[in-house]
């Protein structure tokens, strides 16, 4: 409890600012400064959120979204790290793929949905693959960069002390690029959430995106905000979860974004 007290004291601004914002919103909606039809009070939204949870609606949609993110992220991570490492190690591959990636990467991910639908069976698989596209590029980019930014003196020293071939890769090049890889994974996971919600809005009837859009269309504004809140929470949990994992797995990295 005392530890929590100290933590609270240290993070008083980070904890306080959302509370102040919610308080201001509550007050503005209650006094009519904001129109309650569009900006219901946070307390009302909380009640609706509890209802969505109690009747099971929320869990079905949340589960669908999480499963999609899980598959998409796994796909993007495996391919992104693999191809990123290969691009970092082999110049020819890097020079061949860089221009292709540079052209594809800025395209808004949602536009891949119809295209992906031609290549793989439409439905869940198409949703997952579309969600993975942007994450894949981000992870591949940061991984390539991770290999490239390793201090050459360190690599030279490792070689001098007898690390060659596979050993050089596992003991030096891979750990040396891990901080960058983790940055890519964090960004990639964030983008997977953004894209999956967008894809769910346009193409599915299940998932948080679908729930949000449906609530909006039938003007259940409180449910829309409740879903909003859940999506934000999922994003925060995923991001900080991965940051905590990094702090655990890479204790030698000085500045982990989990502060």
């Amino acid at each position: 409890m005392r530890r929590f007290g100290r933590w609270l004291a240290e993070h008083s601004i980070a904890v306080g600012s959302p509370l102040v914002l919610l308080g201001a919103w509550e007050w503005a909606s209650a006094t009519g400064l904001l129109r309650e039809a569009f900006f219901p009070r946070p307390s009302t939204i909380a009640v609706h959120l509890r209802q969505l949870g109690a009747d099971g609606t929320l869990w079905g949609h949340l589960g669908a979204t999480l499963v999609r993110i899980g598959w998409a992220f796994a796909l993007a991570a495996v391919l992104g790290v693999g191809i990123g490492l290969a691009m970092g190690l082999w110049r020819g591959l890097r020079e061949g793929l860089d221009p292709v990636f540079a052209v594809i990467y800025p395209i808004p991910s949602i536009l891949f949905l119809p295209l992906v639908g031609f290549l793989v069976p439409p439905g869940e698989i198409a949703v997952v693959v579309t969600t993975a596209v942007t994450s894949f590029f981000l992870i591949a980019f940061t991984t390539t960069h991770g290999v490239r930014q390793i201090d050459r003196v360190v690599v030279e020293a490792a070689t001098h002390y007898g690390a060659r071939g596979w050993r050089l890769f596992t003991a030096v090049l891979l750990p040396g690029s891990l901080p960058s890889i983790f940055t890519g994974l964090r960004l990639g996971l964030g983008f997977a959430l953004i894209v999956v919600v967008a894809v769910e809005i346009v193409s599915t009837s299940r998932g948080l995106g679908a729930l949000l859009w449906l609530s909006w269309q039938i003007l259940k504004v409180e449910d829309m905000y409740a879903t909003f809140f859940v999506i934000a929470l999922v994003g925060a949990v995923l991001y900080h979860g991965l940051a905590a994992l990094q702090a655990r797995l890479l204790p030698w990295v000085q500045d982990v974004a989990d502060r």
């Binding site: 201090d151 050459r152 003196v153 360190v154 030279e156 020293a157 490792a158 070689t159 001098h160 002390y161 007898g162 690390a163 060659r164 050993r167 003991a171 030096v172 750990p175 040396g176 891990l178 890479l250 204790p251 030698w252 000085q254």
Partner: protein, 271 residues
């Protein structure tokens, strides 16, 4: 005094760096020897190829001409182990695992590695920091780890590339004394590159003075200041006289180096 046994033989070694535009001669027919157990210092103006010479000895760079021989007395030991200027530790390995890295690569068993790490960390005074990561250490401590790593692999010849150059003056002085103590305890052959004449006089048995680019052996000076040697040697008249003599010559070379074109420094170009 016993007859010196040659340990490192450098014979007419030249190094040329080829870039796409031009080729730069960094070392020009360098010949020198280091005797077994000798502390040999290499001094010269920047651009004289001091580091290049060390990298050739370390096998990190191939000479363009000439021959390098290192007499191996202990089969199974690496010929050289280098202490790098920027310590070059692996940030993801603890102090202990950095020290044992070379042994691990050679397939030395765990128990022996641990014993060796304990011994070397005790030698450099870092026993309590075995489980720390490099980023938790000060500059001087990191360089101690670098020295322990080199010693742990028990090389025939210890190579040191301006290992104290990045440290503050007080830390450097303390590390110089530590180096003398460790060298006296282990009796290793050392080839030590430095830009500091004072450091070379304090540490070395002989000083090889290299000329400005291209690096040639300008002169070799024996340092007859006795052993064991400590910081108090700086107060002796012999020290002052030798410093004057070598500095007069080094000064010429430095001035010449400054007058030369300010093209790429081969020490840097190769790093």
């Amino acid at each position: 005094m016993p007859t010196p046994v040659p340990k490192v033989l450098v014979n007419e070694v030249s190094v040329t760096f080829e870039s796409h535009r031009r080729s730069v001669l960094a070392l020009d027919r360098i010949s020198l020897q280091a005797h077994a157990g000798e502390f040999l210092c290499v001094v010269g103006p920047s651009g004289s190829g001091k580091s290049t010479l060390l990298r050739v000895l370390a096998g990190l760079l191939r000479q363009s001409a000439g021959e390098v021989r290192i007499e191996a007395d202990h089969p199974g030991s690496p010929l050289t182990a280098m202490v790098f200027q920027e310590h070059a530790l692996l940030p993801w390995r603890t102090v202990r695992d950095n020290v044992t890295f070379g042994l691990e690569n050679r397939g030395v068993g765990r128990a022996e590695r641990e014993a060796r790490a304990r011994e070397m960390l005790a030698m450099v005074g870092l026993t309590r920091f075995a489980a720390h990561y490099p980023h938790q250490l000060s500059g001087g401590m990191k360089q101690r780890v670098g020295i322990a790593r080199a010693l742990a692999s028990d090389p025939e010849v210890l190579l040191m590339d301006e290992p104290l150059a990045a440290l503050d003056a007080q830390t450097r002085t303390i590390m110089q004394e530590e180096l003398l103590r460790i060298w006296a305890a282990l009796g290793k052959t050392v080839v030590y590159v430095t830009h500091s004449l004072e450091e070379a006089l304090l540490l070395g048995d002989r000083i090889v003075l290299l000329s400005a680019r291209p690096g040639r052996v300008s002169r070799i000076y024996p340092v007859d200041l006795g052993r064991p040697r400590g910081l108090e040697v700086r107060a002796s008249p012999a020290y002052g006289a030798l410093l004057e003599t070598i500095w007069a010559r080094l000064r010429e070379e430095v001035v010449r180096a400054m007058a030369e074109d300010r093209g790429p420094d081969p020490d840097r170009a190769s790093a």
